[in-house]
Symmetry: D2
Subunit: 348 residues, 4 copies
Amino acid sequence: MQFASDNSGPALPAVMQAMADVNIGHMPSYGGEAPMEEVRDRLRALFEAPQASVYLVATGTAANALALATLSEPWQTVFCTPLAHIHTDECNAPEFFTGGAKLSLVGEADMMTPEDLSRAIAAWPAGDVHNPQHGPLALTQATERGRIYTCAEISALTQVARDHGLPCYMDGARFANAVAALGCTPAEMTWRAGINAVSMGGTKNGCLGVEAVIFFNPENAWEFELRRKRAAHLVSKHRYLSAQMLGYLHDDLWLKTAQQANARAAILEAGLRDIPQVEMVFERAVNMIFARLPRATHQRLKAAGAVYALYEGPLENGPKDEPLMARFVCDWSVSEAQIAQFLEIARG
Amino acid sequence: MQFASDNSGPALPAVMQAMADVNIGHMPSYGGEAPMEEVRDRLRALFEAPQASVYLVATGTAANALALATLSEPWQTVFCTPLAHIHTDECNAPEFFTGGAKLSLVGEADMMTPEDLSRAIAAWPAGDVHNPQHGPLALTQATERGRIYTCAEISALTQVARDHGLPCYMDGARFANAVAALGCTPAEMTWRAGINAVSMGGTKNGCLGVEAVIFFNPENAWEFELRRKRAAHLVSKHRYLSAQMLGYLHDDLWLKTAQQANARAAILEAGLRDIPQVEMVFERAVNMIFARLPRATHQRLKAAGAVYALYEGPLENGPKDEPLMARFVCDWSVSEAQIAQFLEIARG
Amino acid sequence: MQFASDNSGPALPAVMQAMADVNIGHMPSYGGEAPMEEVRDRLRALFEAPQASVYLVATGTAANALALATLSEPWQTVFCTPLAHIHTDECNAPEFFTGGAKLSLVGEADMMTPEDLSRAIAAWPAGDVHNPQHGPLALTQATERGRIYTCAEISALTQVARDHGLPCYMDGARFANAVAALGCTPAEMTWRAGINAVSMGGTKNGCLGVEAVIFFNPENAWEFELRRKRAAHLVSKHRYLSAQMLGYLHDDLWLKTAQQANARAAILEAGLRDIPQVEMVFERAVNMIFARLPRATHQRLKAAGAVYALYEGPLENGPKDEPLMARFVCDWSVSEAQIAQFLEIARG
Amino acid sequence: MQFASDNSGPALPAVMQAMADVNIGHMPSYGGEAPMEEVRDRLRALFEAPQASVYLVATGTAANALALATLSEPWQTVFCTPLAHIHTDECNAPEFFTGGAKLSLVGEADMMTPEDLSRAIAAWPAGDVHNPQHGPLALTQATERGRIYTCAEISALTQVARDHGLPCYMDGARFANAVAALGCTPAEMTWRAGINAVSMGGTKNGCLGVEAVIFFNPENAWEFELRRKRAAHLVSKHRYLSAQMLGYLHDDLWLKTAQQANARAAILEAGLRDIPQVEMVFERAVNMIFARLPRATHQRLKAAGAVYALYEGPLENGPKDEPLMARFVCDWSVSEAQIAQFLEIARG
């Protein structure tokens, strides 16, 4: 009963096979290998963006921090939500990679509205040398609470940014899950909605460790390459990143895997909603559920070996019926049997 | 005929198998998984250093830059040679990770003597707020020109550093090749010779992408972990780094692989020395050869498809007999037949 | 009618004279001059802190950013209010000088309570490598809205910080005004209340440009000196900083000047309170007043040449009686006649 | 007998008077004051550069580090000599301000030739992501050893830089002394010779602490302003920088002061050359002399109270006739009588 995170599960067999397939003979390193050429072609086709610059890195934080650094200046502020991964979970990586830019927090929790964004931008007067200057908008899709913006909502947010001349970045650590949930195309959710650069995560969705970073505006390309190199994120035996991504893209595996993970989470959600004492905290859209369960239920689940993140506590002491928030993530490998077992224990 | 680099070849089958073996079920991420526990135990045993802090990262530049940043302050200067990888091939990664430390160049080419080091340290008066302050010594073993320091030479260099209170780092991208060439133990070449922190490279010696960073002084541990995280080098599905390293360490594979690569380079060297017009530039010790061959020989080799780095040129135009320096690297997968073919063409 | 800022007025005659007095002959530079020895002695005596490290810099932002960088690490977060000068008015200087630390915003507006601080610290779990680590507390005294913490309030806040092992910094750009308002000693408002380092501003209180930075813990001294030098804030002809500070300290000029500025602001405040349509926004404690006046009143004042910062607008268009917030600052040189003239116009 | 440095002497009376003249009433701060407008006009006229962007800062290191940061990227390398002030005497300020750029050392000692520069640029292959990228050329004029480049030599050096698309910066801490020595105009020594940005030092030549930074290409202006602010070098009571510069520029005081300092050094040089055991180390051009004097002579001079920097030693022990290098700097305030007294003691 493993619901801790979508980075605690195994890699997809097809991705492992792609790694093995590429492990033959010598080839150029540092991204000069033929498989990377194919990655570029396939991602450009997938995003309907023939001019896009396409890169691979091994971690989501690298994707975020390098892309934001490329889109911003050290004296600027990035606009993101208070629960944005770049703010809460990267130990100041964006501040490090940007050379000391600030993150201004917009909206409540994990989402923002155009009004929130307008207000946050207006809080820093334009052209005043004393305060931080306006920098990029950073959205997470799906969000850190498992919710999603519609393409229209993304467009409305990027329109505000564009009105101020600001570039727009999408942290797509769960990009595939969002596309699967929306039923849209990658292009619709990104450049057609005003996004200038996006990370398309592979790691959480069945790869070993690979994220694509795509700039729809090719003028950022060379700077990104230099930033990646000096941040030690240009992998020498790059073929193993390319191979993962090829396996991931082949035959829509990226999308099917996300659909499966989302579907499993839907089963879990439905089961939880049937339990009277369970309260959903955020509207589930992808493969993550935030819910409050009574302490006694948590005690039962943990005792039975269920693994997931408890956000409130303590587990041991307190009223049995006090609701405590937890996060449940389904990766592709979680079985329906596991979910059924979990729900049975939860029902008590 | 592939002699371009030891990062252009494939990964060892045993390492690939170790990756597959670990690809089962859920486990903690970010280095909390059981295989990493085993890596720690094995490396501590191998280095005879039970208190050492042990970390894995995916690139050699990350290992170098993170370790040096941990050992230095932004207002200090690192001491390294003019051909040190950290100076010439990392696009200012050390300057970035240290927050703006300087690299002071010591000695000629790829090696330094204790006298060189003493002179370089003395060039920056101690305790003067105006000039860069003394920071760590950084040695590369084997060096960027395929040479090695003896353990006594390392001791003599670290003694100079210690006399000034400076920590000592060893860039061991080709650590295994150096141990194989010296016939010493990892402990003898590192902490017993005064080294405070070392990277033990796996990538160039048959892994996909993994480097161990070992601090013999555990007081640096937590800072390194924070630096690794905020540099986006803490891998989430960390099991795939651990698995590589376990496969690499099992049954002395790391050492045997290096011995094989060195032996292949010895065959190539012997063959080249038999050719009258070939001049060896550096004394070969490991799996790299720097030699000058006549332009006509290079033209023949390149036309036949040999792949290697030509350091002088141009290839096409100039006297046929003008000697041009090149680098030839043997990785574990280069066959004796390829070497024989190469030498036959080289002999003309 | 000049109420724009306490850095738009002239320097005190005694400070100018001190500059002239020191302009004789040669003396060591970079703080090695005899007048700096005297500054150190006098400030240590004033603060009843014989072991304190004492430095001078030319700007308040330099004092703040250098002190905070000395007290923090790049992977930490500083705790300050949303209206802290270091957050709103230094164009990311703290992020720059610290090498990329984050500023976490505590409380509302310009002040925080111990509960606010406890909550903000708890929001970042201790010892978790993923989120920013706990760094220094930064208080501004007097605050950016002209209010002050009592010594007991400062003690309560620093106690929370100390419970988490965090150092405490006081931005004392208007240090003298706060001491004058509280009627306490410098020691009582700083180290006796748990402050580890403080800036004592001279610039806004009658100097040309000088701020003292005082570390009560001398272990920070050498690092601060190196940071000051590499930030280009070690002034070569340092005697002119020392002379300003000597003139400022002589015969309690620093305190008398602040008392005079506060008293002038009290007159202005009393006059404004007498005007029915005027609403005080913050409780005045020092030499700054934040008040809402009707648009028509602002139009009259501006037309008559009054200079001050209007925080809401626009001035020209809108209902005549709409209240618009403005800031009125009295420096030492504002005369009672100017204030009377201003009030007369304000009264309409 | 004060020859230690041109920043250990007093300020010019006319500069002090200009400070007093501006100390009246309120005026805008942060460079918005009327005197700064006049500074801009006068420097644009002096440099025959009506479009130039003109700024003032308080230290030479700030001028250098801010200008170089504006002209470079963190992944680039600045080209300068091994004795450049930015390399040896700024405690890594350029590395700090640029965000981690490297300094590549060109030529020997304090000067470089076009051939030196070409070689140094060629050492880093263009367009290779692995090595540092080409950044600005930084010349010091007059140099750190008191020598000067002719305008033709500057043109030849900047031509090499321009051939590689690199901007050219001149550290003019002793700008006036160089102009005085060459008898050229400021324009001839800067933009007409290919310089893109220059600092024109006031501090060493009779001011309290002010340096002008001039960008002949106005596109760098706003970035410089933001960099200056976030580096805490935007002075609030900016009028006192402006006043210094106005006093300095009035009636060619800057040039006359430098001529006087150079002339005094010429007297000292002539006297030293008459002493048989004295050896000149560098060709004197401005107000600095580097010479070797016998140990016994140094002992006599120091015992008599002469103040200057001894570069070799030790003073006390060793052969009486061993030549030891020293630096002698004449600032404007050194009298002919002091020089005569010094020479008399030196002659023994």
